[in-house]
Point group: C2
Chain length 197, copies 2
């Protein structure tokens, strides 16, 4: 089965991840999705922008669930972080450094050019932060630390993706993971400033 609309959203998500928003044409989308051109404007009367908004939210939700599945298997925060970054590195290599964050490229493109789509990316990131914070709280951190660590986790992952895709190397993911675990351990020790040791 797989309805035409879902097929359009799915392939658009893959194309956005590799080529970005402005770099992906509607013609290419329908060609790769095996859909007639008119279907886009039938399902998305708002055109490319409306399609993009739905793609951002859909792929953002899917990626969140993927990461949650990995994090929820880990017994503690440090293990979760290490497993998550290792999985990200594996995916990156397996896809020829193409499949990293599904919305980062689009997020940077639209941040200063399209307010509607910027809000869509902001909503996705906010949901990711909430999801991560919930898990850090489960692992015993207070609300403030949990939120901060969730942001650290996501920013480190996003930044590493940028360097890894450019350099075609996973080194940045390894380095970033070490910083996140350092931040986690510092919070576990109850200090976000130095002192003891």
């Amino acid at each position: 089965m797989a309805g035409t609309k879902d097929r359009i959203v799915g392939t658009t998500g893959e194309l956005f991840r590799r080529q970005g928003y402005t770099g992906t044409g509607l013609k290419q989308i329908v060609a790769e999705a095996g859909a007639p051109f008119g279907s886009i404007y039938h399902f998305f009367p708002g055109g490319k922008q409306q399609l993009a908004a739905e793609v951002i939210r859909t792929s953002g939700r899917a990626y969140q669930q993927l990461v949650e599945a990995i994090l929820d298997q880990a017994p503690d925060a440090v293990t979760a972080v290490e497993t998550g970054f290792a999985a990200a590195a594996e995916t990156l290599v397996a896809t020829g450094y193409a499949d990293a964050c599904p919305i980062a490229t689009v997020a940077l493109e639209v941040a200063s050019t399209d307010e509607t789509l910027r809000e869509a990316t902001a909503d996705v990131f906010a949901a990711w932060v909430d999801s991560g914070a919930t898990r850090f709280e489960r692992w015993g951190f207070g609300p403030a630390d949990a939120r901060r660590l969730a942001i650290v986790l996501i920013t480190s992952l996003e930044g590493a993706f940028v360097l890894c895709r450019a350099a075609r190397s996973t080194e940045a993911l390894t380095a970033a993971a070490s910083a996140v675990t350092a931040a986690v351990r510092a919070a576990q020790a109850g200090v976000s400033s130095p002192e003891e040791r």
Copy 2:
């Protein structure tokens, strides 16, 4: 003065930072640079790709010197990190969340679509890492830790830029800074893996 070529490169850099590579047209570039259209192909026979390659390397070098100037004023690594992230946040707010990393958007766009430009972005990031590593060595870290911390610094900055520009908030930069300082302090303590405590 300011030669036509330099003016084209400069405005292209500003446009790339806000709109990305595919989102910026050559017509818009010459219009904003106050240059005739033909000048682009006079100075850059290779067209948009050659112009982009030069813009990536030029703006990458400029941003590196800007960051180095900030880092070199700090007495120690932690102060340098904190000052650097604070400066980035100030710039971000002052420019309406437009001026973050000059090449990140382009780097993600071309990573899987243009091998020539991907290499240009990779070279820039590599130079940044070397520059940062040199400074961490100056602050007393061994070569391996220095390189790792430099990568941590850059990835954290890049990732925070993504979230900050999307959310129009500097919270991610603050959180990211705390992780970098945690990583720096962990390296200072001589442990990058757990054990003692």
